[in-house]
């Protein structure tokens, strides 16, 4: 147990230090010694949170954030992660549809959010980048997600995000889905203007919100038809 605790701390630190190969070796060892995959992902997420703080304090660059995301994806792809991953990924927590809104082509944060959602038991439909409001409406009708995540890095994505929600109001389907908007520039005021149910400036908070919504109805999805 002591060894696993020590390994856990080392995994967090190695992610923080962006030591890709060392992380992979230690994760391999940790899985061999019985560490639970979901717990492992929480350790990686903690390491990524630390990377995020180092970026905010200007010690790390955007490339380092991306490197952390790459490490996360590498670990998710481990063979021994996938049986548990699939076991968790029955989508029993609900279905989340995500996309970067029209006019924005950033997707790094969105992709990390997607990975964490899947690891936490959500089924995810990713619409990609520069997604027009009508596509969100069409794909909602096709996939019937419980939650829609709108991503945007640029400050001017506030209006495209609002346009998506307005399109849902116009189509008479706003009440059938929860909206979370994600991006560093977002504030409570922006969320209110957009008309979303919640917002997030970081992945961890976004996951927390989605899990809280999932707890509202633990069987049958979040928005019961």
């Amino acid at each position: 147990m002591k060894d696993l605790n020590k390994m856990a701390n080392s995994i967090i630190e190695l992610v923080e230090q962006l030591e890709e190969e060392s992380v992979k070796k230690l994760v391999d060892k940790a899985l061999n010694e019985g560490m639970e995959p979901l717990y492992l992902l929480e350790l990686i997420a903690e390491g990524m949170t630390r990377v995020g703080r180092l970026y905010e304090s200007k010690d790390y660059y955007i490339a380092d954030l991306i490197m952390a995301g790459m490490i996360f994806k590498d670990i998710l792809a481990f063979d021994r992660m996938t049986p548990d991953f699939h076991k968790n990924n029955t989508g029993e927590l609900g279905k989340v549809m995500i996309g970067t809104v029209e006019g924005d082509i950033h997707d790094i944060g969105k992709d990390i959010f997607k990975g964490m959602l899947e690891a936490n038991g959500f089924e995810v439909i990713d619409l990609g980048v520069d997604v027009h409001k009508e596509v969100f409406v069409q794909k909602f009708e096709e996939y019937k997600p419980d939650i829609i995540g709108l991503s945007g890095v640029l400050t001017n994505t506030i209006d495209p995000m609002k346009d998506v929600i307005s399109a849902f109001i116009e189509a008479g389907i706003r009440e059938k889905v929860k909206f979370i908007v994600g991006g560093n520039h977002l504030t409570g005021g922006a969320c209110q203007y957009i008309g979303a149910d919640d917002f997030s400036n970081d992945v961890s908070r976004g996951i927390k919100v989605c899990k809280e919504w999932a707890e509202l109805t633990y069987k049958g999805g979040i928005n019961n038809d």
């Binding site: 905010e56 200007k58 660059y61 490339a63 082509i105 506030i158 560093n184 520039h185 977002l186 922006a190």
Partner: protein, 223 residues
């Protein structure tokens, strides 16, 4: 009227040219480019600068609201005048009386951006040094995978030919096609002289900057 300017160092060439052409004599407080990375840090730093000013009636901001970093600022010591633009890209690319449309799949640079501490060039060099060539290729493919163009904005404030060569080198490194676009510093000049019309947010002393000041009212943004 006593005015002071708070400016982002990225716009140094453009603002200095505007100051020269308008013969403006207001003092300038330059802030490092790095603050734009985190909207919260930017807001904190700007508020501190506002709070420390004395005997100033109006503070002019040579800033876009990058990451909504100016939303939430309190005009504690003076009135605030802020260009009504989402960021500095729209500030220098926009044209008078025309609605700004951001070119798609495009990464924007000027001499100021290339020179700054958080430039794409510095990002590339840091990545190469820290992570090596192979990982740099992977990282930049993820970072810029949806981009097609590197646009060098010709503001008239710096030697284009000299910086075009550097931009071309950078474009080759990050696998983008270099394009240039000529623009003008009309908005910065109007910031220094007025009038403070629909192109600007005016926040009176004692008020707080809100999204509403940037046109995000109920319904559509005001034009």
């Amino acid at each position: 009227m006593n005015c002071a300017i708070i400016a982002c160092q990225t716009l140094q060439d453009e603002l200095n040219l505007a100051i020269q052409e308008t013969r403006c004599q207001y003092p300038v407080i330059w802030l490092e480019s790095k603050y734009h990375i985190s909207p919260n840090s930017l807001r904190e730093k700007l508020q501190s600068e506002i709070d420390n000013l004395k005997k100033i009636d109006t503070i002019l901001f040579a800033y876009g609201s990058c990451g909504s970093g100016l939303v939430g600022l309190t005009a504690s010591t003076a009135n605030l005048i802020i260009p009504k633009t989402e960021d500095c890209i729209s500030m220098i690319l926009s044209q008078p009386t025309k609605t700004f449309e951001r070119p798609k799949k495009t990464y924007f640079i000027t001499k100021g951006w290339m020179d700054s501490s958080s430039s794409l060039l510095e990002e590339y060099e840091h990545t190469l040094k820290r992570h090596g060539e192979e990982r740099t290729k992977r990282i930049f493919k993820l970072m810029l995978g949806h981009y097609q163009y590197l646009m060098l904005i010709d503001t008239g404030a710096y030697n284009l030919d000299e910086w075009k060569n550097k931009a071309q080198e950078l474009a080759q490194k990050v696998n983008l096609e270099l394009v240039t676009k000529e623009t003008s510093i009309w908005l910065l000049k109007q910031l220094l002289t007025g009038p403070y019309d629909e192109n600007f947010c005016t926040i009176k002393k004692g008020e707080t900057v809100s999204l509403g000041h940037f046109g995000y009212q109920d319904g559509r943004p005001s034009q």
